[in-house]
Every structure is written in C-alpha cells, then in structure tokens.
C-alpha cells in the first residue's frame, strides 16, 4: 500500500478473494464471479501471484467499468482493491 493511502485512506474490503497459485484467466474469472455476488459500492480485495494479473486486471476493469482503487505489490504477491460500480 502506498504511504499516502496507508496514512489517509485505509480502505476496508467487504470481501476477500484468494487467487494465489492460480494462472490467467482464473484470477479474472474468480474476480468476476465474486463481484456478481456483491452489492454496488462494495469493495473486493483480491490476492494473486500470477505475473500476468496486473495487466489482466487493468484491462478487465477498463472493459467492465469497475473501479480499481489500488494495486499493491509485496514481493511476488499482488493485492488488488476493486469497487463494484454497477
């Protein structure tokens, strides 16, 4: 998490999704399915260690219109915070 967001706007995720160990396209598919179960405005935290998931998630939100609030990286593990918009 960036220093700014850590200090000023710690976002609490409503749901968490563990995609560690999986490869493209599974993190995107599981994220899509998880978002379907959520209410508009809720936030999903998704963890993935697939090196492709950064590019995949970025292009998935561009297509679907959901909001990608944060991408953090701790070593090989990405942490995505996504807000459902519709």
């Amino acid at each position: 998490m960036s220093e700014f967001s850590a200090t000023y706007m710690r976002i609490i995720a409503d749901h968490k999704l563990d995609c560690l160990g999986l490869f493209c396209p599974m993190p995107v598919l599981k994220t899509r399915d998880a978002m379907k179960q959520m209410a508009v405005g809720q936030v999903l935290e998704m963890l993935s260690d697939d090196p492709a998931s950064d590019a995949d998630m970025t292009s998935w939100v561009a297509r679907t219109g959901h909001e990608l609030l944060e991408i953090d990286r701790d070593g090989a593990i990405y942490r995505f915070l996504l807000r459902k918009t519709r």
């Binding site: 490869f23 493209c24 396209p25 995107v28 598919l29 899509r32 260690d49 697939d50 090196p51 492709a52 995949d56 292009s59 998935w60 297509r63 679907t64 090989a76």
Partner: protein, 399 residues
Amino acid sequence: MARSTASSSERLGRLGGGVTRVYLDYAAFSPVDPRVVALMRPFLEGGVGNPAAPHSLGLEARASLDGARAKVARLVGATAPGVIFTASATEANNLAVRGLARRAAGRHLVTTTIEHISVLNACRHLEKQGWEVAYVPVDGEGRVDPDAIARALRADTALVSVMAANGEIGTLEPLREIGRVARARGVPFHVDAVGAAGRVPLAVDDLGIDLLTLSSNDLYGPPGAGALWARADVKLGPIVVGGGQEGGYRAGTENLPAIVGMGVAADLARAEGGAEVARLTALRDRLFEGVLERVPRARITGARGAARLPHHASVVVAGVKADGVLLELDLRGVAASSGSACNMASGVPSHVLRAIGCARDELEGSLCFTLGRWTTGAEVDAVREALPAVVERLRRLAP
C-alpha cells in the same frame, strides 16, 4: 484420395441430433478420422495389455506403443526414441518449458507475446520461482523478428520457445531463422507445432528444432494424447512422477488407444497432407474473399497467403462483438469461434490481438474460421451468405 466421403456437416450433424451444421471450428476440436477410429477399436475393446506387463499381451502393447512412436517421429523427421507421449499438447508444452527448467543451469527464457496460454503460463510459473522471461513482441501480422530473439538472448538463457503458427491469427513464424539464432548461441529451441504439423513442412533437423510439441486431435486423432519430441542431448526433468513410463519423463500408464490413434493420424497426415493443404488453401481463400468483399469494415488478422496456416481464416470486424456474431451464426447452423476460448470466458481482450496492435473497436470483433478434412465448398459458401447479414443486423441493433 481414399477418405471418408461424409462432409463434416453430415458427421457432426449426426452428433448434434440431426441438426445440419456447418462446422468451421477445427482448431478447437477436430472430428476423429474414421480410419483412426477403426484402428483404435481393438485397443479399447480388449485383447491388449499394459505396455509394462510381463506377458505376451504386454509385449504386443509395447510393440504398438513403439510403432506409434515411430509414426509420430516420422511426421516431423525426428528420431523415435525422442518421442514422449503425454495426455495433451498443453502437457507437452509444460514438459518442454518446466521440464527443461528443472535441469537447466540458466535462469532466463526467451519466448514471444503470442504463444499459446500453456507456454505463457508455464513461463509465468517459472517467473514465480525466480526465473526471468523475455516476452519478445511481434509485428502487426504477428510475426516474430529473429533478430529480436537474438537480441533477447543472454549468457544464462536456457531455452527459446516460439510457436510454429499462431492459433488465433494463423501466422507462420520464421522457425528456420530463429533455429539458426538459437543454435549459434547453443540454446535449445522449443517449437509448439500445434496447428502447423501435418500442414507445413516441419523437419526438426532442417529447422534446428530441439523440442517439438504435437497434438493428436489437431491431426484428426483422438483427444487425450499429445507428444513432446526431445533431441537426445536435451536434458529434461519429469513434471509428472510415478512409475517411470515414457523413459521416466512422464509417469502414468500410457493411454494406448489414444496413442495408437495418434500414430495412425500422423501417418495419414504425412501421406495426405500435401493434397489436403492445396484443397484447404483454396477453400480458405474463397472464404476470405467472400467475407472481405461483403462485410464492410472487416479485415484479415495475421499474415496472408503462404505465410499463414492453410486451413485458418481470421478476421476482425470493427464495431461488432464476436460473441454476438457467433451466437447469430450458431442459430443459422454455423459453428465458428473468436480464436480463444480462454479469453471468451474471462472477458479480457485476447493477448494476441493486443500484441498485434488491434484498435479498440476491433478487440471484441475477432472471428476465427478453421477448416478441416471434411470441410466442403458448400460450408464455406454458407458462411459467405450468413456473415454479411448477421453483421448488418447486429450493427443496426447497436446504438
């Protein structure tokens, strides 16, 4: 040419409960050649043992297994002992990339941005273990520049992996030049030959190939079999361990019916491939010509003419979504695809279309028609008729 006279519509129509069907999705699944099925039958119905068994039925099974090995090797001018049978081309790609990595001194791989997902994810698997991977980009037709491969090589590069032909856009890659580059630097060269084997000449010695992936179903053999050929001096480690079958490189009792079928399929491809390629090329070009003439704002993706797979026609149609077009075509009895099942499901635009620089309004309108042994001129004409109407209808409906 001695081959079944039934068209794919008749063959697949029967499967679909009598529905007349135009089947142009051979890259996703090919009907198994009836001659292959006939020769597989005894291996399913009994009278054959486990190739590892000590009795005479085991010996016969072993002889059949080695016979299939020789047939598969012959298709690509390779040595039979180098053939390792697997359950799929995906598994063969995994064995090539991850199996080689297990024994390699280096920590670096060179591949391209448009490989099949099984090669890409095998590379990503290694990245998670600390390997570095160079994903070499391609030009607007999906062709890799051999000089770019040369520039990506490092002192610790353990493998170069480049596909023979891309399954989404049909482009053939310059294997001979890439093979020369890899050989000059002493780096093993892996080629995923699915789509190309049996359709374009692939002699491993001629092209400087050290590892080669094949699919049974792609050759009109049964699903459930694939193979990796490895040159004798390439060191591999197994990724499936167990009872030491396939020279210890792939454990698990061999799927003998499917492997025998793959051998027969490879033999048929070698014997009949030439005539089939000429026939399919003519049908492919007739399909292209009709689509480009009659569908406004459609253009070919990938290379043209002899620089692409003979049975592969792919286009993007700007301003329409492929899933809508495919649904409408299906209602009219035409089965085709967008080129990649994986991307259809996830909703992420295809990595191949992104790599060749497709415009935003084209990324979702990719259509892929793959022809095969039973494709008829009437089937191609059905697409020439149906597609313009489908696209026009969808464009009228779109806001």
